[in-house]
């Protein structure tokens, strides 16, 4: 399968191109980037013959495209490709708004092309195992959950689109948040109510707290941050125990504590007998996409699934209030006269 990589930023360089190079079923046949020198340098390194500044130039030469552009371009570019019958794997977040997600889904439906969303956490072994552990009721009926995800970014960004509202469409909730919200939706089903507090002061939020309730009645707290390194795990508390899983790690520890016992069962979910890497997740994602196209079946994360996390993010943004950060407030002044100090600054 001939695949165009559209958008040659860090994720294309670090994950999509290596996954394509390792694939037997697909190969990168065109690299598209407004910055042609960037496209050329990656093309040289990965042995791709064709580069283009605009995706229109490679239409007709490719069967599918991986769209890894800044967020605001996902819907227009993927939509156009889908309408023309090009299969699309679009990077997360699917798009900043539900309306754009719907437009992409409609475009895919109109031509019959496949639309997959790049939520690669779905391909972690731990994601399936946790869903099964929860379904098996090992910790009893769920009483609540507490998810804390925070990483101070060290990502080698090739562009600064994530810092601007016009190009990013949202802050950390759209950037990191879609991953963990997608996991929760995958584990717990549809959500019912949400309250959102964030630190945005006229820009894009970098810290968010959610109170989130699911249709099942399970309620919990979600914290997402790109200014703090948090524990990066989700704790499910059931009437009969606690289940904890790492959420920013392709090979997380999964811990189970049952019946108030001190001892816990800790291990890792592995199907391949070795630790899974992010690279493995991207490889599985690509294989799934290619196979879905070949067999005419839906991919593991079709547009309708990618849309779910976006709908939740959109609801959060619509209801957002300010996060209470006491140190953020304009400073108050101390009255030194009450502290036994001289009433005026000491003059020499």
């Amino acid at each position: 399968m001939r695949i165009a990589v559209v958008g040659c930023g860090a994720i294309a360089e670090l994950q999509h191109l290596p996954a394509l190079a390792a694939s037997r079923a697909a190969r990168a046949t065109a690299l598209v980037d407004r910055d042609l020198s960037r496209a050329r340098s990656l093309a040289r390194r990965w042995g791709v013959a064709r580069v283009a500044a605009d995706v229109g130039e490679v239409l007709g030469e490719v069967d599918a495209a991986i769209v890894a552009l800044p967020n605001h371009l996902h819907a227009p570019v993927a939509g156009e490709l889908l309408r023309r019958g090009v299969h699309v794997l679009v990077e997360k977040p699917m798009a900043p708004t539900v309306a754009e997600c719907d437009a992409m889904i409609a475009a895919a439906a109109s031509s019959g092309a496949t639309l997959a969303v790049g939520l690669e956490f779905r391909f972690f072994d731990s994601t399936d195992v946790v869903r099964e552990l929860l379904a098996a009721g090992l910790v009893g009926p769920l009483a609540g959950f507490d998810l804390r995800q925070g990483v101070i970014p060290r990502w080698p960004f090739a562009s600064d689109f994530v810092l601007r509202k016009e190009t990013a469409g949202g802050g950390v909730l759209l950037d990191y948040g879609v991953h963990v919200l997608d996991l929760l939706l995958c584990w717990l089903g549809d959500w019912r109510t949400v309250e959102c507090r964030d630190d945005a002061r006229g820009g894009l939020e970098s810290d968010v707290e959610l109170d989130l309730t699911f249709a099942s009645g399970v309620a919990g707290k979600v914290e997402v941050s790109r200014t703090r390194n948090l524990r990066n795990s989700c704790r499910f508390t059931g009437e009969g125990g606690v289940l904890e899983v790492g959420v920013w790690d392709p090979d997380p520890e999964v811990t189970l504590r049952i019946g108030g016992r001190k001892a816990e069962l800790a291990g890792r979910a592995r199907s391949g007998g070795r630790a899974m890497t992010f690279g493995d997740a991207f490889t599985r994602q690509l294989d799934d996409f290619v196979t879905a196209v070949r067999e005419g079946r839906p991919p593991r994360v079709p547009g309708s699934e990618g849309r779910r996390a976006i709908a939740l993010v959109e609801a959060c943004y619509a209801r957002r209030r300010s996060l209470d950060l006491p140190w953020d407030a304009p400073p108050e002044l101390t009255d030194w006269s009450e502290r036994g100090a001289s009433s005026a600054p000491v003059e020499r």
Partner: protein, 413 residues
């Protein structure tokens, strides 16, 4: 500080802040944009470091302070420039280069852009080793003998010369030990050190800390950018040292940090983490442990490396970074590569029990620094800027603790 004190003097003004992805510049950018309604532009090197700035209504421009073209573009159209950037990465030589060349470039850019006011953030360290007793701006500037202090001294001299020659309306601020939310050297680093080991209180911790809460320093910077009397002057900026009868000691400062861990349930009492020593004992401890540095590092690394290695190599905790910074301050440069290798991908584990926690040795330079009973006067800033610290140590530390708990620096929850 209410906006009233500045009379809205910064509202609508175009302001450039360098170093805004850091501690002081970051808080300055927040207060300028939110409390003072300035039109803020920030010059940042990387995208990753700017996440916290993106929450503000500020214009984010990418570029290096040592790149003349980037600096000129950033300064264009600005009324005021605050220069807070300094070398924070790479070799000591490179950091010193950023301090010297970066300051020169930004002065040139600001001058070419006909910027009205320029506030240069310097440091108390430009006075070198300070004597006991009162210190004010009439004291001679002296080399301390390390790359940071000496290059900051050169940068300050350069900035002052532009003012003297009438080329730019420069004001220099010389802050003391700045602490507060998002702080590194005097906040995250002591917290990390006290978690990993025990801290030596030189002379029982009786030396004067001259601590200043970050918002007080920012208030002084804002005042310096609008007061006409400030042009061509340098100002020491400390906390309420000269407003209260008794100076803040290092013992008090470190007790605050250790108590934060105690209250957060770290499993030790604050006093158990603080080891009073005379200067001679501290020096002897340094000498006896210099050779044992690798072993000590195993101990610190052992304290930091939990049972769970971190798979995701993109991750590094702020606490770990802070401890590495600390190590680079305490240890000879030749050990630093080794530390880097050893502590490559690790997570913060449980803190070591009180009796197992290593006593972190202080270098002779630091021993001298912590022993000094220098009381930094802020009379000049008070007289010419109208600066008056608003934060007692207790109030500043209360906010710092709330932040540290939120930032997970007091143990993971």
């Amino acid at each position: 500080m209410s906006e009233g004190l500045l009379g809205g003097a910064l509202a609508g003004r175009r302001v450039l802040v360098t170093g805004a992805s850091g501690f002081i510049g970051g808080r300055l950018a927040e207060r300028l944009a939110i409390d003072h309604r300035a039109r803020v532009r920030v010059l940042v090197r990387g995208v990753a470091g700017a996440a916290r700035l993106a929450r503000l209504p500020v214009e984010i421009v990418r570029g290096d302070v040592t790149d003349g073209a980037a600096v000129a573009a950033a300064a264009a159209g600005c009324d005021v420039v605050f220069h807070c950037a300094y070398g924070t990465s790479g070799s000591q030589r490179h950091r010193a280069f950023v301090n010297r060349a970066g300051t020169r470039r930004i002065l040139e850019g600001a001058s070419a852009a006909k910027v009205g006011r320029f506030v240069h953030l310097s440091t108390l360290m430009v006075y070198g080793r300070t004597a006991d007793g009162d210190l004010d701006e009439t004291a001679p500037r002296r080399r301390f003998g390390n790359a940071y202090s000496d290059s900051k001294l050169d940068a300050e001299r350069e900035a002052m010369s532009w003012a003297r020659e009438g080329r730019l309306a420069v004001t220099v601020l010389q802050p003391t030990a700045v602490y507060g939310p998002w702080g590194g050297v005097w906040t995250a680093q002591p917290l990390a050190a006290l978690r990993a080991g025990r801290w030596v209180l030189v002379d029982g911790g009786a030396g004067f800390a001259n601590a200043v809460y970050v918002d007080d320093l920012v208030s002084a910077m804002l005042l310096a950018s609008v007061r006409d009397q400030a042009v061509g002057e340098a100002f020491l900026v400390s906390g309420p040292e000269s407003l209260v009868p008794k100076a803040t000691t290092w013992r008090e400062l470190y007790t605050h940090f250790a108590s934060m861990h105690e209250r957060a349930g770290a499993g030790f009492r604050a006093a158990e983490r603080l080891v009073p020593m005379s200067a001679e004992e501290a020096l002897a401890h340094w000498k006896s442990h210099r050779r044992a540095v690798p072993r000590l590092h195993r101990e610190i690394a052992g304290a930091l490396v939990g049972a769970r290695p971190v798979r995701d190599r993109l991750m590094a905790t702020r606490e770990l970074l802070a401890l590495r910074e600390l190590a680079s301050a305490l240890l000879p440069e030749r050990w630093q590569q080794r530390i880097k290798a050893r502590m490559g991908a690790t997570a913060v584990g449980a803190p070591p029990a009180p009796d197992e926690a290593p006593i972190l040795p202080l270098s002779p330079d630091l021993i001298g620094f912590f022993a000094a009973r220098t009381r930094v006067r802020i009379d000049k800033a008070s007289r010419l800027l109208g600066y008056r610290p608003g934060f007692s140590l207790e109030r500043g530390m209360e906010l710092t603790e709330q932040w540290a708990r939120w930032a997970d620096l007091l143990g993971t929850s």
